[in-house]
Each structure stands twice: as C-alpha cells, then as structure tokens.
C-alpha cells in the first residue's frame, strides 16, 4: 500500500505543490493538510514545506508555530511520528522548539536563491538511509534567514549526540568554513544545513530536496532524501515506531 504523507499548507506556503510532486516521485501519496486542521488524518509522516508562512512577520516561522495544525504535528512528533521541515518548515520547527537552534538572517543579509552542496553527516536515519554514501549533493537554497545558530555548548551536544544531519560542503564534500560564502551560503555555524531532535524523528533542512528531485530540474540529488522519508514512513511501525493518534478533543468554537 502506498504510504500517505501529509504536506502542511500555511497561508504563505509556496513549495507545497512541488513537495507533493517530489513525494509522489519518491513513491508516496501526498495529502494536503490545512493550517487549521486539528488532526493529521492518519498520515504516516508530515512535511512542513517552504514558503513564507503567515508572511514571515515578526520572525520567520513564529506565527505558524501557533496554528492549530502545529499542535497536532507536535503531538505526532511526541509519539515518534516522522516530521521533516524544509526551509521555512525548518524555521517553523525551530521556533516551535521541535528541533534545536534558530535560523538567523543570512550573514550577508541578502535573500539567496542558488544551488549549494550538502553532505549527510549520518546515513542511518529515517531521513538519509536511502542516500547510500556521504558524497556531496547539489540542492538549491532559497531563503533570507538560513544561518543556523545555537550556542557553543548546544553545538557540542548536537555533534556528540549525532543530531547534525547535513552540512554545507564544497563540491569535494569537505566541510565549508563559516566565512566561506560560496560553500556556506548563509554563514551557518559549523556549516549545519540540517539537524534532528534528540529522538531522531524530527528533522529540519534548509536546502530544498523537492526542487532537485528529477533530472529536468537540473539535479535529482534531493530525491533520495524524500525517498528516505517515504520508505521510513512505510516501514513504520516496525522500524521507526509511533504510538497511535489519540482521539481528537472537540473544542467548541
């Protein structure tokens, strides 16, 4: 049976259709979830796509964090459900505290839309297991606030606990320096492009795998990231267990 994967649509999301297409290429049946939905309809995993949720007012991702669907996503994550936030979705997850750190304004202040290289730090996660090797992958970024920040102690903890998922690299897969804007486009600390929560079931990723999911887009390097998620969701609950969704509490409006 084809696994169903939810794609959350906030007002201002603009990568949801591309993400649905990418998930379809990766073998899933995408299901659009509206920001006012209070349950996830039994999907096997959730993707928060890119865009400018709620106009990115105040701080990117912060208003979206308080939307009804995010309460359901937080509960799903708490029970072990797989959640991937891409670009603005990563910012929403960080603001919600579902992944560590914060995304600051790009070091050079400009919005960046171009290809970068990233490499997985781990190949044994629900988000990377289909990658097979740690070579550099070419994916586009499109963001104004993508500079990953956490304090030094947190960065040490993330590295020690294996929570760093992807780093910005040069094409030869060597890790990009913080002050190398060509390879590390936004100045992310320790070149972190993607992180996971401590439990390893929620991940945020700044570049866009769905925009590099087939050759006609110039790169198909992102497809294996989506395929990892889809296969992991299909393998649940045996390999990546998740507790059942509790009944929805009906609240009078």
């Amino acid at each position: 049976m084809t696994v169903r994967i939810g794609v959350v649509v906030f007002p201002g999301s603009n990568c949801d259709t591309d993400t649905e297409h990418g998930l379809r290429l990766a073998g899933a049946e995408p299901v659009a979830l509206w920001h006012e939905d209070v349950d996830l309809g039994g999907v096997g995993a959730v993707v928060l796509p890119g865009g400018f949720a709620y106009g990115d007012y105040l701080r990117a991702g912060v208003i979206a964090r308080f939307s009804p669907v995010m309460r359901a996503v937080a509960g799903f994550a708490e029970r072990g459900g797989l959640v991937l936030g891409i670009c603005n979705g990563f910012q929403v997850l960080a603001e919600a505290g579902l992944v560590p750190g914060a995304l600051l304004r790009n070091r050079e202040l400009r919005f960046l839309g171009r290809d970068v290289h990233i490499a997985p730090s781990r190949l044994d996660t629900p988000f990377t297991h289909a990658l097979g090797d740690s070579r550099a992958r070419r994916l586009p970024v499109a963001h104004g606030e993508g500079c990953f920040y956490a304090d030094e102690a947190t960065l040490d903890t993330l590295e020690a606990a294996g929570q760093v998922l992807f780093r910005y690299v040069r094409p030869d897969a060597s890790v990009a320096a913080t002050d190398d804007p060509e390879a590390n486009p936004n100045g992310s600390l320790r070149a972190i492009a993607g992180v996971m929560n401590a439990a390893g079931n929620v991940a945020g990723l700044m570049p866009h795998p769905e925009r590099a999911a087939e050759d006609i887009l110039g790169s198909a390097d992102g497809l294996d990231i989506l395929r990892s998620l889809v296969e992991s969701a299909a393998e649940r609950p045996s390999r990546w267990p998740v507790a059942p969704e509790p009944p929805v509490e009906v609240v009078a409006r």
Binding site: L58, R59, V62, F66, E95, G101, A102, L104, R105, N106, R107, E108, L109, C147, Y149, A150, D151, G187
Partner: protein, 116 residues
C-alpha cells in the same frame, strides 16, 4: 463600545457605554539580538557611517520595538501578561533579549496618565 485615547488605546466598556472598572496599561517591548550573536543588520548600518563622515560610533545593534495595550486589574498582572507574550512570541530567547517598559496607563474613568 469603548473609550479611545489619542494614542488609540481603549478601555473596555459595557453595553451602556460606561467604562468597565479595568484599567489599561500601555507597554513597549524592545527586542534586540543577544549580546555576542552576530547582528548583520547592525554591521551593515555601521558600514554606512564612513559615507556619512561620522566617526566614533560603534557597537550598533538593530532590533524591533513592539507597543501594546493590556487591560488588567493591576499593573503586576498586566506586566505578567506582557512577560509571557515577550518570552513566547515577541522574542526568541535563544537569540534575542527583550526589555519591557510601561509607557502609559488609562484609568477606568478613561483619564489617560503618562503616555506620549
């Protein structure tokens, strides 16, 4: 219905148009990047100083100021609401610091005190 001051702050009123006995407090919340966190906006502003021919200015930090009115029985309760709002929404404590300042109050009778 409500009573409105020149600043646009309002006090709640009942159906007879009489102001309810809850005062309104007006606050400003200043949000700035945490010390030590790179502030590229501040750096960009600093970079422009040379073009203005200004010397001796340094350590520019750029943040945002949010002003809001809170109806509550006491200033302590109003401030507690603003603290919560600042900590959970207006500022991200991982990367920002905030400061709360009372800038005005409107008594139940609608007579403004302070404010600007």
């Amino acid at each position: 219905m409500s009573t409105t001051t020149s600043r646009g702050a309002t006090t709640p009123a009942d159906e007879h148009g009489v102001a309810a006995a809850i005062p309104t407090f007006r606050y400003a919340v200043d949000v700035l990047p945490k010390p030590g966190i790179l502030d590229p906006q501040g750096r960009a502003v600093e970079g422009s100083l040379g073009h203005l021919g200004i010397a001796g200015v340094s350590d520019i930090r750029v943040g945002r100021r949010v002003e809001l009115s809170v109806a509550a029985p006491t200033e302590e309760e109003a401030r507690a609401t603003v603290e919560r709002l600042a900590g959970e929404l207006l500022a991200n404590p991982l990367i920002e610091v905030h400061a709360i300042e009372l800038i005005g109050a409107i008594s139940p009778a609608g007579r403004g005190t302070g404010g600007r």
